[in-house]
Symmetry: C3
Subunit: 250 residues, 3 copies
């Protein structure tokens, strides 16, 4: 999984991929984008600590990924918080063959052009209205939209799946959203059904959080325990613990 | 708390803020500084891994924070070690409405224009002479000066407070100084008395260290336990454990 | 130890140095390279998340380190994966007075101009043929070559040493290779025999991994325990646990 991501989570997302059995590569130099993407099975674009040079590399990498036909996951961190982020997310969505858009409710709303302002980058707003925005965006764009929050929603505009795994401590550690994006890329890189792969990756990570939390005394000890769970979880445990449901059509 | 900080500690300072109940935002693009600051209650400027572009963003963010009237904490990492850092710290101090300057003795001395060379960025030198430099700098500039070391000193030039919380393991983990700066920003963002807020934040973090240390086998296990303590500490525990004293005038 | 390194491992390599009793400095601004190197006992150049500006700073720092006569460790992360990385590693090797080159088999092969493509940046390929490449590179260049993998090889082209310490969990955490490079720099900064210092640092870190692993439930809890072991290991424990052997000449 090749990631062009923000400085804050580079270490933690690399570790989450390694723990889950994937191989992370972090690189952003314009000069090597095409070759690096050539070695990858999936690409993650995360705009968490954006600057103009990095945006150019995102387009170069995204273009190469599109040509190669590997999945691209876009994490529009903080879209809606500033015009620079919203505009960049919209340009990436428009010009690249994005496979999955993974964000919280405010970020998805911003990507859909819906009103409402992000409070920083960690905002959430689960509601029927937010879900409708996600479904409509997926329907129009052909992109799988994953809106994460207390309940996660994954939709391709026709089918919508809810995932009820996770634990409140996950929101007290930086980069858990970004981690779910890189896991989604790993799962999509290994599976052709992007909706199922995305839902599975969110169930996987949420379940890992559920299993780690009882052993933790707080967010500090929670994070290493969460990585252990990503490393140790068996397919059987995932199947048994996943709380994934196909939502009825409305 | 909006931070423009060094690459080394972005993850750990974001986690310390989350553990303590604050909301971190890390962003440095010139294009979005004004908007990001508009969403924040406090700003941290940390020159730990400086480059020219980032300095421009610091001025843009600092200018916006000054207009908005939110507190700015400057962490002059490595001031005194190189002319580039010393000069940058001095320019930030001169041109922005800095609320709190938080550094070790060498860094504070460099910011005060005092002689003496930093050995790397982790140097400390507690002494009466260093305290006098801090008090004079605060008095002249109207900035609260927090000089951290074995004993922390916080002064506004008239009142000087000492904080005797902390543990030696805190100096064996990278970014604990930077963490105390972002916590100071969080406390100052929520309180109007900057001297009291700064002293409280240092007592809070030092006490968290004291409580974490007995459970740790070394600096590796110490850090997650320290985050847990930041998350779990009650106001009563802080009041009881804080060793804060108003220093007599000399 | 002054490091110009990749964003992913800045925090973890700083912590490994602190745990082992060394003092890390991370800085990359062209303007301060000469002064920063002037304060250091060793320099690490790591090309893990390269860009053109950083390469310039690497040359500036490397030039200053050469003039000062302090050891330089080059970690050619991902050499062989892209032409940009291979070319940069070769330029650094050619133009600077590199003391130790530390990489995995693919990276060392790329630095030797040998054929074979890196799979990402985490590839390994222990074999007699890879060893021969390392020995020949060291012989021709006068640089100590450390090729790490399941068995580590350190060679100056005349003497070759194998180190059989380590644990498989070390490859499930990002930055353990980079960590061994910064430790190598710390050991070389304190010892004049670069071959012995490099072999000792790899034995030290591998042994720390061996000692940490039985207490870990996975790669998440392994990392903090590994730092603890770096902090707590005595010279006697290292002497007793090191599995270092002089390889017979072939």
């Amino acid at each position: 999984v090749h990631s062009i991501t923000n400085y804050v989570v580079m270490n933690s997302t690399a570790n989450v991929l390694l723990a889950a059995g994937a191989a992370p590569v972090m690189a952003h130099a314009r000069e090597e984008m095409k070759e690096m993407v050539g070695l990858a099975s999936a690409l993650v674009l995360n705009i968490g600590t954006l600057s103009e040079h990095w945006v150019e590399s995102m387009f170069a990498a995204g273009g190469a990924a599109g040509e190669k036909g590997i999945p691209i996951v876009l994490d529009p961190v903080g879209a809606g918080a500033t015009r620079f982020r919203t505009r960049t997310a919209l340009r990436l969505l428009k010009d690249l063959s994005i496979t999955v858009l993974r964000g919280n409710a405010s970020e998805i709303r911003a990507c859909a052009g819906a009103a409402g302002r992000t409070r920083g980058v960690d905002s959430t707003a689960d509601s029927q209205e937010a879900r409708d925005v996600a479904v409509e965006l997926a329907h129009k764009s052909g992109i799988v939209v994953a809106m994460t929050g207390e309940v996660d929603i994954v939709t391709d505009g026709r089918r919508t799946v809810s995932i009820r795994n996770g634990h409140p401590l996950m929101s007290r550690v930086t980069g858990t959203g970004c981690a779910s994006s890189v896991l989604t890329a790993a799962f999509c890189g290994a599976n052709t059904d992007s909706l199922a792969a995305t839902a599975s990756s969110l169930a996987f990570f949420g379940l890992a959080g559920e299993r780690a939390a009882p052993k933790a005394d707080g967010p500090g000890t929670f994070w290493p325990l969460l990585l252990d769970q990503c490393h140790n979880m068996t397919p059987e445990e995932l199947t048994e613990g996943a709380r994934v449901e196909l939502e009825p059509r409305l």
